[in-house]
Symmetry: C2
Subunit: 459 residues, 2 copies
Amino acid sequence: MVLDTILEKIDSNQNRYIEELLGFLKIPSVSTYSHLAADVRRAAEWVCSHAKRVGLQARLIETKGHPVVHAWRCRQPDQPTLLIYGHYDVQPPEPKEEWHSPPFSPVIRDGYIYARGASDDKGQFFTYLKAIEAILAGAGELPINVKLLVEGEEEIGSPNLGPVLAANADLFKADAIAISDGSQFARGVPTITYGLRGLSYLQIDVRGPRIDLHSGAFGGLVKNPVQALCEILAQLRNPDGTVAIPGFYDQVLELQAWERNELAALPFAEQELTQYLGIADLSGEPDFAPLERKTARPTLDINGIWGGFAGEGAKTVIPAKAGAKVSMRLVPNQRPEQINQLFIDHVRRLAPEGVKVEVRELHGADPVLVRRDQPEVQAAVRAIATGFGTAPVFIREGGSIPIVNLLQETLQLQAILMMGWGNPDDGTHSPNERFRLQDFHHGIRSVAALLYELAKPGA
Amino acid sequence: MVLDTILEKIDSNQNRYIEELLGFLKIPSVSTYSHLAADVRRAAEWVCSHAKRVGLQARLIETKGHPVVHAWRCRQPDQPTLLIYGHYDVQPPEPKEEWHSPPFSPVIRDGYIYARGASDDKGQFFTYLKAIEAILAGAGELPINVKLLVEGEEEIGSPNLGPVLAANADLFKADAIAISDGSQFARGVPTITYGLRGLSYLQIDVRGPRIDLHSGAFGGLVKNPVQALCEILAQLRNPDGTVAIPGFYDQVLELQAWERNELAALPFAEQELTQYLGIADLSGEPDFAPLERKTARPTLDINGIWGGFAGEGAKTVIPAKAGAKVSMRLVPNQRPEQINQLFIDHVRRLAPEGVKVEVRELHGADPVLVRRDQPEVQAAVRAIATGFGTAPVFIREGGSIPIVNLLQETLQLQAILMMGWGNPDDGTHSPNERFRLQDFHHGIRSVAALLYELAKPGA
């Protein structure tokens, strides 16, 4: 079988792949540092020429910021097309003094590559180029069509990716997207992320008297805006931790029995977590397990509050105004627009007399749920089982990933394969970021297997 | 009658008194400005030598800061002793550009003296020296004993007055205290303040997880400290505006029918006030009139709140901690220690699981209520009627006056005569501070009358 040959090739080339990755990691492509702009471009060029070297066509698409690498090989008109997303930019390395070895002088220790970007996302993304290289070297042609989209601004919020996608929708048209920019559920537990929570983020502003007042002279005469705000905020959640906004749960796609069973089977070290957090117990909706609450249940949190005097000592003031930021994590099939409206209606109902209450919508993101019965997803399951030697688990993430929303929105794709090759303790965004050599190797194997799995009839 | 002669003398010397006050007002005795320390001392010396000139013995008591002027004339062993409190320091004049004439170049316009300190408290305090002078000039001796305590640090919180009082309690022993450092209820409505609200000031700190958390990764797992804080704060007051702390009203000395009738008879421009405050309606305890709520009812206000992200835009954080400052205005016979304990007990009961809640006591002051049936108070009523030609109204103030608490505590005196000669629109602490010439004159007359009234049997 062809794939076996390819996998053998991958196994025997491990050391060379690592050496090449070390070269990539030496480029300090910190996208947020303008004084490193030349290095960021050098990383883009490195990816572009490496893509050409492994047998793809490739070019840079210029943006207002850092360029996007566009590479492709589409020679199988009857086969599906996979869009591969990655990013070549990295987080700043600071605080540098906490690194055991310099962030841009990658070293190998105890089975890990240590360097800024090793896991996020240079090492993970590089697995795709190496798998493509192995297939082209071993079989002469790819089994499917591939397109690569490698941006240089992920770590600064991808400000220029939207326009690039909008202007080049045809170039990036595909049947599925593959993203490896996250982590496995735990070490040795390869993972497919099939859900992301969405977001509704709003601000409440409460205004009372025109000016701050002396609480001696006016206490008893005016409604205190902070008090009003607290009365509103206290009624956003019920005492049992559920969200109190009428209609909030109406659209929630309830967890299926099989899904709950799966989540229950995942290892979850509750005591380790509470110790890490410094709290006695976890809290939340009583009818759901922690992992369900963390990933598949909607939540509401006050992210910030302010008003009046917050300094040292005592100031006897009735503040003129107060405010709070409130966000809700949404799950399928909640939509930010609907939830925002329910929130605004609820706050208006709660607003006490004597103050003016204003609600502003600041930010929103749709939740993402990838249907697991899609053939592309099943192909990914088999590919990871081949690559890692063990079948992946399925999880949902509690957060949002803006680029996933952006890709899904622009390209209108249902099959999004989020397969993190990293580990939760890789230290992405932290000092001593690392990537496990074994995960790097298993990732390359999985990508190679994926391209063959997607080529099978029905996939 | 002797007093009539004295009052005639006062009437005929008006212009000289004003000229002398203008000299006093030229000294820029801003106690908070260290570069003006020499001027502050010059003001103390001015008071000291003026007190000697009018016939008192006088000296400076040095402190760690600005000196206290101690003056006295105690030649009537069978008569009561009146302690007169005043302060010779003033607020900073800033913003200077808003003054129509320089703050320390006093001028007379339209029946007012304009200068920093004209009303607060140089002009008001000066009435006592002029009345004493007139009596000594007209009758050769004072009808009672007087002691003067004139400090130079009132505007910076009287940090050194406590030690001076403690070390000289015998020197300042008296039967009554007179303070003219406030205002009449309204122009042409001379006023005796017979009550001050007290204060309990506390801080609530709520701690949740050890560190700020990502609301995507942890939303649904931990109790949010801001949410917990809001739940507590929302339950400190009932929906009708009353304080919800069990036992809070137990010790409250209820308003008597006559007191309510008196308050109801005072002019209170509710619409003018709501317009000034920029609110539609006044709020507060439904069973009490605004003036009752403002002065004779206890209240609770959140003075400040903080926690999490308060910047521009959206940050999806579950804050590790949150806090609030809460104060209560107390009325007779509430005591800060008792109320603090009720507050702490209530907050402890309300504290939800999953967070740590700590309450700290920051500041307290006892309420003050002067019994109006005391002969000294009745003497003051008659004296003001003589001095102003109209009987005073009685009011309670909503705020606290720390020096009154300090004087009462150290000297253990019940008869505290708070008689403001100023007006609410004098602009104390503001640009273009002023003092009405007519009030200055009526104040001097009232003080003269007061010394005679206090000398009467039964007063």
